[in-house]
Every structure is written in structure tokens, then in C-alpha cells.
């Protein structure tokens, strides 16, 4: 089974802090994604990466950056956390071989910025 793990389930940070959210997958997947989930808005794509050191902006990249130094790890960085970044953050991964196509999700990190 594919396993996607996220470093924290719950996180509380102060406004202005630099925040790191870590995601690790164990299936050698090329593609990794960061979404945020807010009630009534579904999941919105922040960034994704299709290879080591490669990244593309999603729909809502403002205020975020990402890092992918190793294939299995994809980090989301909030350079200066703000209260409007309080949300559930979900990481996902997907391979490119065969016809799987579906993304596998981690359990999520619920971030509260005070």
C-alpha cells in the first residue's frame, strides 16, 4: 500500500512565524502535491512537483513556497504565517507508470495561526 505521511497532525503557530510542513511518500512517486482544504471551497492546489527540484505553482501559491530536494520528500513553507493561512493542509503523491492516475493523500495537517 502507498503510504503518504505528514510531519504533524495539528500545529499552532504565531503570526509572522516561518512554518515548515513536511510530507514523505514511500512509493517512489514522481509527482507530489500540496493542497489546502477549507469548508465550502473543497481542495485548492498550492504547488506541485513533478521531479526533484522541479515545481510548478498551483491556483493559490501566494504566501507559500516549496522544496523538493529528494524524491520522497516535499516540503511546504509558509514564509511568514498569517491568520488567513489557518487551514487543513493535505499532501498527495502520484506515480506516472501504468494507468493508476489516482493521487494518494496523507492524513493532513490542521494548522492554526494565531
Amino acid at each position: 500500500d502507498v503510504k503518504v505521511t505528514q510531519s504533524s497532525r495539528y500545529l499552532v503557530k504565531r503570526t509572522g512565524e516561518k512554518v515548515f510542513l513536511e510530507c514523505v511518500q514511500d512509493m517512489d512517486h514522481e509527482n507530489m502535491f500540496w493542497y489546502r482544504q477549507d469548508p465550502g471551497l473543497g481542495l485548492r492546489l498550492i504547488y506541485f512537483s513533478y521531479d526533484v527540484k522541479m515545481k510548478e505553482k498551483g491556483d493559490i501559491p501566494e504566501g507559500y513556497s516549496v522544496s523538493r530536494e529528494k524524491k520522497e520528500r516535499f516540503s511546504l513553507i509558509l514564509e511568514s504565517a498569517s491568520t488567513n493561512q489557518t487551514s487543513m493542509y493535505l499532501c498527495a503523491s502520484r506515480g506516472t507508470s501504468g494507468y493508476s492516475y489516482e493521487q494518494y493523500f496523507g492524513p493532513g495537517t490542521r494548522l492554526t495561526v494565531t
Binding site: 503518504v4 497532525r9 509527482n31 502535491f33 493542497y35 465550502g40 471551497l41 473543497g42 481542495l43 485548492r44 492546489l45 506541485f48 513533478y50 510548478e56 498551483g58 493535505l90 498527495a92 502520484r94 494507468y99 492516475y101 489516482e102 493521487q103 494518494y104 493523500f105 496523507g106 492524513p107 493532513g108 490542521r110
Partner: protein
């Protein structure tokens, strides 16, 4: 641009009755369609997908979905609902080319009453 609409915020159904959760989509090109389920405080779990072939696809936990190209719909169905099916359901779409990430609907909360 691709988009997904889930017109119902919540669907209520009695246990043992059939259920339908609606999804319509808009893409340029052939759609790849997915349904995910989210239980409280958990990540998203893959239910089923349509890539090509038969319009009726079967997935996990007795769920199925019907792809209707003329109506651009991909409704999720189950013949007999269980209380344990109560959760948040997301429809998602992408195409085989272009954007690699999924575009999600806003989600539908399914409540199955005993």
C-alpha cells in the same frame, strides 16, 4: 480551464435506501474523473475512477459511478446506504495532458440516518 461542480452541500438518506451524490465537470479534452471520500479528521481516500471504457465504474465499499459524456456528469451511487457511509465526498477531474493535478469540487456531506 477545468472545473467541477457538486451542487449539493449535503445529502440526507435513510439507511438501506439508494444514494446519489451529484457531480458535473467542465474540461477541454477527455476527462479523467475521480471520487474520493473523507472521514472526520482523516485524509482523502480514493473510491473509484473513470479513465476510459465502460461508462459504469465500480469502486470500493459498494460504490459505483456513471460517466455521462453528453451531460458532463459523473454521479456517485450506491444501491443501499449504510450509516458508516456518512462522510464528505469529493469529485475531481483532470485530463490526460496539460495540468497534472486534480481539480476538486467543493464537496458533499453525506448523512445516512439509521
Amino acid at each position: 480551464a477545468q472545473s467541477v461542480a457538486q451542487p449539493e452541500d449535503q445529502v440526507n438518506v435513510a439507511e438501506g435506501n439508494p444514494l446519489t451524490v451529484k457531480c458535473t465537470y467542465s474540461v477541454s479534452g477527455n476527462p479523467y474523473l475521480f471520487w474520493y471520500v473523507q472521514y472526520p479528521n482523516r485524509g482523502l481516500q480514493f473510491l473509484l475512477k473513470y479513465i476510459t471504457g465502460d461508462n459504469l465504474v465500480k469502486g470500493s465499499y459498494g460504490f459505483e459511478a456513471e460517466f455521462n459524456k453528453s451531460q458532463t456528469s459523473f454521479h456517485l451511487k450506491k444501491p443501499s446506504a449504510l450509516v458508516s457511509d456518512s462522510a464528505l465526498y469529493f469529485c475531481a477531474v483532470r485530463t490526460g495532458t496539460g495540468r497534472r493535478a486534480l481539480t476538486f469540487g467543493s464537496g458533499t456531506r453525506l448523512q445516512v440516518q439509521p
